[in-house]
Symmetry: C2
């Protein structure tokens, strides 16, 4: 049996604990034996109290230690681990593998998803991006990842960096466009609810069409009259600038094709 210890108690840590506890082979092939959390209360609804520790010196012996904490604390905590030559991974999209302390074997176990507190996700469909220093460690990570997800990928640090930047565009920036949509609605006394089916369908389309195929709108059509009317309509300087920048970018794309 592969024994796993999880270090952390935030959003990602909590979703990972739930995923390991619910895995079909939990307790037979793979077991989450312990969670390290400075605040016991933040994970006590997910795992038995006796499996939680707030003392790094009390960490159990395990085949894999998963550090699921904020990016800027990974280096520090990895250097405080009281053992050597064990497999230690972090879960971050933007931190290189070699930030982990040299005393242990290093790896990455990066679930690429946006996690919301108290909103359950179906972990089976979440891509997990793995990296390790050697093939044996990779095989172990692969087994652990496949116990909770059907989508496991070997991704090196450079590729992971690219993925993280791409994720900022499709997640953080997209959400910001939703916010601008909401602001425009509010300024004009229109319920934002009206846009929600469009938001859902825009994301749905990408499951079956490429972004190029799915692209529509005045910029794509080079519909100058509508673009000018929209720009005149946007009194908010910031909205106006984003409209111009993204419209130009879509038009430039059109020229390349």
């Amino acid at each position: 049996m592969i024994k796993v210890v999880l270090i952390g108690s935030g959003n990602v840590a909590q979703h990972l604990i739930a995923a390991f506890q619910n895995a079909p082979n939990s307790g037979t092939e793979i077991e989450l034996i312990q969670v390290y959390s400075r605040q016991t209360a933040s994970v006590s609804h997910l795992i038995n109290l006796e499996q939680i520790t707030n003392n790094l010196d009390a960490l159990a012996e395990a085949d894999l230690y998963i550090i699921a904490i904020s990016d800027d604390a990974i280096e520090a905590i990895s250097s405080l681990l009281p053992f050597k030559n064990r497999l230690v991974v972090h879960t971050s999209g933007s931190v290189p593998l070699n930030v982990l302390n040299e005393d242990n074997r290093k790896g990455v176990f990066y679930p690429l998803q946006t996690f919301t507190k108290n909103k359950p996700v179906d972990f089976k469909i979440i891509p997990i991006c793995l990296e390790s220093e050697n093939a044996t460690d990779y095989q172990l990570l692969d087994k652990v990842a496949k116990s909770i997800s059907e989508k496991v990928f070997a991704i090196n640090s450079e590729q992971r960096k690219a993925l993280h930047v791409a994720a900022v565009f499709v997640n953080n920036f997209t959400n910001h466009l939703y916010q601008i949509g909401q602001e425009i609605c509010q300024e004009n006394q229109v319920p934002f609810e009206i846009l929600k089916p469009l938001i859902a369908e825009t994301a749905n389309k990408i499951m079956v069409l490429s972004p190029e195929e799915a692209q529509t709108g005045p910029a794509k059509r080079n519909d100058t009259a509508t673009i000018e009317a929209h720009e005149a309509f946007l009194a908010n300087e910031n909205h106006h600038e984003i409209y111009k920048t993204l419209t130009q970018s879509i038009q430039e794309n059109g020229k390349k094709l």
Copy 2:
């Protein structure tokens, strides 16, 4: 019974024909009696041949004429209709009501959704935005809209303009961000597939959280180190500029709160 004639055979027209044909009260309370299409073949899979005409002079008498054609042809076709004082509406998000010819009573019947050829949509959840010149016509439009959708809204031309601009942000611009995500993946030999669950969840979140609540990422956290690393990573000048513009906009929002 309310009799409806649909003028047009493109994407929106086809989805509307299917929605009317499948409405529970089709043929009892509301009936799509005729479709005008220059190319019979483009709608003959949706409605009986004898109900299709390519001759404006052969338009049947009806309670409502829905013009579902491209924006720039609405004015012209409305002026060619061979009757007076009937209710004529268009389906466009960006064309004002008064573009329709004065000879008839004017209205708007705007389904706010992105329609893909051959990809069925659940019309029941599509918001339909209605506008008319008088209350009697509004009641008729309301009945017809509610026969195919559960979400019907009274939206005047100014509000509709705002909605259309907002829709460009949450649909056209969001899709363009998906495309940039794909380009970054391709440039770095990472499958775009990995980002699809994130895209789906980003849209899902907005169904339960406000965009402000859902916002995450380096710009929101003012994580300067990550932002600088991402900007250095983005060799593509266009991607780089969009990254900067949207990051600044998210940071400005943070200051306002």
